[in-house]
């Protein structure tokens, strides 16, 4: 199978998301589509998958021109896509979900039907560790993703597009996915991996195509040439992270004593630690071990079952405590109102102190400077936040939360969706706040990033915290054991 994209263009208002892209995709190859947030990677692939109609250009499969008005049409031609959001039904079993995605489903579906057997067999090839009778709601994000992939394959996809698949995964899960994608390519599938992570590219791609501002700027088989790729993605050098001065004997600011809490399927069990002025604590762990709950508890947004949390000796005054900056997971749902403008979202926390008759013209200049500082694109204050891409939504939340002088900064999976430059800028901002004396708790997914930038590191497993220990010289093997709950 050979898919050719020729001269594809797509404009969204003032943004040229795709600017005459030519690209050839083949079976047996993992092609990484690399680029910063807003470079036009997803848009390009959504045009191929029939989700977005191109303004100009054409698509052909094995030489025959095609036109897809819907994903259904694309699937009929063997093109499948895993979007960033899962499209599984939580209440059903894995097996039921696979059957729902199959190409032809008979009216009557017994437990022994052929369609089901085939679907389960596909899953067994791809992910033998997943029991098809389990409920999807009980699966972790990595497992859900494999089910989703299996569903796409059951539907007959020969070219599979994955949109930022590793953004939800811890390192071991990502490694597993990389292996699976290579295997898929070796069995004659084409794979397109949309990503901004260089690890994805070097570990699994045969070929890398770099997009910037809607154009292909580099196409190479040298997937390990990290510097070249970064330079092509950025078009400029990465921002610098300021030096950290080692702090010693600083006074204690944040203290948790035997904190326990419950929320949905997450819990915290007797978590205790104390952090001095200017400390950055990295909290690592496999997803689904209580990270989100820890973030909420630290931000005062969730009640404690037992224990005590104090900042500068005083307990938090609930979720609205002005001393705390909080960047929760899933910013679009948890930290932004989609229908409100960027300008209003930047002011959202002070909604009760806004002028009764909304006139925010006085704050426009400062807001625009914030968009610049955090590189939120496009820089249109009156645009609805719901139209931002994931990475820019995250930057907007960071702009609001890190603009002030908070005493405690809690960030939960903050680099999800951020590209290399934005991640670096985030670290720089956190370091500046720490140098000022703020306490930073960074609940993260990427152990290497945490080790590189945090002073102390702790591991969360099933709601229990191991550590913190000093990050410098920390034994990665020991941390790995903690992450799997081997020895706490």
């Amino acid at each position: 199978m050979k898919v050719e994209l020729v001269g594809l263009c797509k404009r969204f208002g003032a943004v040229q998301a795709s600017d005459g892209v030519d690209l050839v995709l083949r079976s047996g190859e993992v092609c990484a589509l690399l680029g910063e947030n807003g470079a036009g990677k997803s848009t390009l692939m959504k045009m191929l998958y029939g989700l977005v109609a191109p303004d100009a250009g054409r698509i052909s499969i094995d030489g025959a021109p095609v036109r897809f008005g819907s994903p259904r049409a694309a699937r009929a031609h063997g093109i499948g896509m895993l979007l960033q959001q899962f499209s599984l039904i939580d209440a059903l079993s894995v097996s039921d979900n696979l059957v729902l995605g199959a190409r032809r489903v008979p009216l009557w579906l017994g437990p022994r039907s052929r369609v089901r057997a085939e679907a389960e067999q596909k899953l067994a090839q791809l992910a033998p560790e997943i029991d098809p009778r389990r409920r999807v709601a009980d699966l972790g994000p990595g497992e859900k993703q494999l089910v989703e992939l299996s569903k796409v394959l059951s539907a007959g996809a020969r070219l599979v597009i994955l949109d930022e698949p590793t953004s939800l995964l811890a390192r071991p899960e990502a490694e597993r996915l990389w292996r699976r994608l290579r295997d898929l390519a070796s069995t004659g599938h084409g794979v397109v991996l949309i990503t901004h992570k260089l690890d994805d590219v070097s570990a699994c791609a045969h070929r890398a195509v770099v997009l910037r501002a809607g154009r292909v700027v580099l196409e190479t088989h040298e997937v390990k040439a990290t510097d070249t790729l970064v330079a092509a993605m950025m078009g400029a050098a990465l921002p610098e992270v300021p030096e950290r001065r080692p702090s010693s004997g600083a006074s204690e600011r944040l203290r948790l004593s035997t904190v326990s809490a419950d929320w949905a399927d997450q819990r915290l069990e007797r978590v205790s630690f104390a952090l001095p002025r200017g400390a950055i604590l990295g909290v690592a762990g496999v997803t689904g071990n209580g990270q989100e709950l820890l973030g909420r508890v630290l931000a005062g947004a969730h009640p404690l079952r037992e224990g005590r949390l104090t900042l500068d000796g005083r307990p938090l005054a609930g979720a609205g405590d002005a001393r705390v900056a909080y960047v929760p997971e899933q910013p679009m749902v948890n930290a932004l109102a989609r229908s409100l403008s960027l300008l209003v979202n930047l002011q959202a926390l002070r909604v009760r102190r806004l002028p009764w008759w909304l006139s925010l013209s006085g704050s426009r200049a400062a807001a625009l400077r914030l968009l610049e500082r955090f590189d939120v694109r496009p820089r249109e204050l009156d645009r609805a936040a719901g139209t931002l891409s994931g990475g820019n939504a995250q930057k907007l939340v960071l702009a609001r939360e890190l603009a002030g002088q908070p005493d405690l900064i809690v960030v939960c999976f903050p680099s999800m969706g951020l590209d290399a430059a934005a991640s670096r800028r985030l670290v720089a901002e956190l370091v500046v706040h720490a140098e000022r004396g703020a306490v930073v708790v960074w609940i993260g997914e990427d152990l290497d990033a945490l080790l590189a930038h945090a002073d102390q590191i702790a591991v969360l497993h099933r709601g229990r915290l191991s550590g913190p220990i000093r990050a410098r010289g920390a034994d990665k093997q020991q941390l790995g054991l903690w992450m799997t709950g081997a020895a706490a």
Binding site: F12, G13, A14, V15, A17, N37, G38, A39, G40, K41, T43, K46, G50, L51, V52, A53, G69, S70, P71, Q85, R296, A299, A301, A319, G320, Y326, P328, M332, V333, N334, A335, L336, A337, R338, S339, L340, S341, V344, A348, L349, R350, V351, R352, L354, P355, W356, W357, L358, E380, D382, R383, A384, A385, G386, T387, L388, S389, G390, G391, N392
Partner: protein, 377 residues
């Protein structure tokens, strides 16, 4: 792009449509990205109108009547003459107020279908005041009567809201079930303790004193209730798009965690918005009692509570669209009277037509491509 998806709030409001707050403040640069993929509100309306006409045509054929004569009767009964227009305006007032009763809770993502019950609750409260005070209040009678009606509707709606915030009872279910009570209570009252002894068995209260009758204009039945309805809709529109309360509502609807961090109490807002909505429906009930009947009797409002729900649904959370849509629904309702009298069709024809309108709007609102395709990146 997961979000709570209340039926009445257009979850795509971050995209086209002039009434989302972001757009309303600066219409020049509304979110442009998704426009290509989605039908605009104008396109949807035109499409809905076309589908509705087609469905009605089929329906009239099925009745075995000449559809063009029935269309002519529809036109004559709704807008075709000065009298018809005035009757449409008479129907408009309760429909508009009840639409507000649904649309206000919907600004929080709540789906209330309780306007009908709230309308009757308001009529009971207002009538109680009139019967108790007689003509003693003089010129203050009518305003106090409307106020009492509003309070009655508000209290009844607040009951459903309290169930929601204290016991987590789904407000759609509770408001639906609570709709059955007040009409039965009205029947009890007018057959029992409040029956006019001189009415010769007719179930109704005594006729209201003149001070409790709202004025009518232009020698028609068009009355002050319409002005009240329009004023309340405009007030709601201004409050939700131009003041910080609109921001608060959007936060509560779209990001509960952010709203909590901003110090907003979901419980308090649920109580408030349900109560404001109930007040609008309660006023509608009292207006109907005062102007149309002049006394409390069963069957007031002619289903305005449900017509109002239809209007709010069609408006998809945009308060600015309530008036034109309520006008359409009221015109259908007035035309239905004409069909009943002139063309000898059952009055249920109106409900069938409203149902067809609902289906037409659903079909027109269907999107060809999944909305997932609209993010940049």
């Amino acid at each position: 792009m997961k979000s709570l998806s209340p039926v009445l709030v257009d979850t795509r409001s971050a995209q086209p449509g002039p009434a989302s707050l972001a757009d309303a403040q600066r219409p020049a640069s509304s979110g442009s990205a998704p426009r290509a993929a989605l039908r605009s509100a104008a396109e949807r309306s035109a499409l809905a109108a076309a589908i509705f006409s087609g469905l009605s045509l089929v329906f009239f054929f099925a009745l075995g009547r000449d559809p063009w004569l029935l269309f002519a009767a529809l036109w004559e009964g709704s807008l075709g003459s000065g009298f018809a227009l005035s009757e449409t305006l008479v129907k408009l007032s309760p429909v508009l107020l009840c639409a507000l009763a649904t649309a206000l809770p919907a600004t929080l993502g709540l789906v209330s279908v309780g306007a009908e019950g709230q309308l009757f609750a308001g009529s009971i409260a207002g009538t109680a005041l009139v019967l108790a005070a007689g003509g003693d209040l003089g010129a203050a009678t009518a305003p106090s009567m409307l106020l009492a009606g509003g309070l009655g509707g508000a209290a009844y709606a607040a009951f459903a809201a309290a169930l929601r915030v204290s016991l987590r009872v789904n407000e759609t279910i509770s408001t639906l079930l609570l709709n059955y009570l007040p009409p039965l209570l009205v029947e009890y009252l007018v057959y029992g303790p409040w029956r006019d002894p001189d009415s010769l068995g007719w179930p109704a209260t005594v006729s209201f004193p003149d001070a409790a009758r709202l004025g009518t204009y232009f020698d028609t039945r068009v009355h002050a209730g319409l002005a009240v309805g329009v004023a309340l809709v405009v007030l709601a529109l201004v409050l939700t798009t131009r003041t910080r309360h609109g921001v608060a509502l959007a936060l509560l609807r779209e990001s509960p965690l952010l709203a909590e961090r901003a110090g907003l109490s979901f419980r308090a807002w649920v109580l408030a918005m349900m109560a404001f909505g109930g007040a609008a429906a309660g006023v509608a009930g009292m207006v109907e009692v005062s102007v149309i009947e002049g006394r409390l009797q069963p069957g007031i409002g002619a289903g305005a509570g449900y017509s109002g729900f239809l209007v709010a649904f069609l408006a998809r959370g945009h308060l600015g669209r309530l008036f034109p849509l309520a006008f359409v629904v009221a015109a259908l309702s007035a035309a239905g009277d004409n069909l009943q009298l002139g063309a000898d069709l059952p009055s249920a024809v109106v409900y069938v037509l409203q149902g067809l309108l609902f289906i037409a709007a659903l079909l027109a609102g269907r999107q060809r491509t999944a909305a997932a395709g609209v993010e940049l990146g």
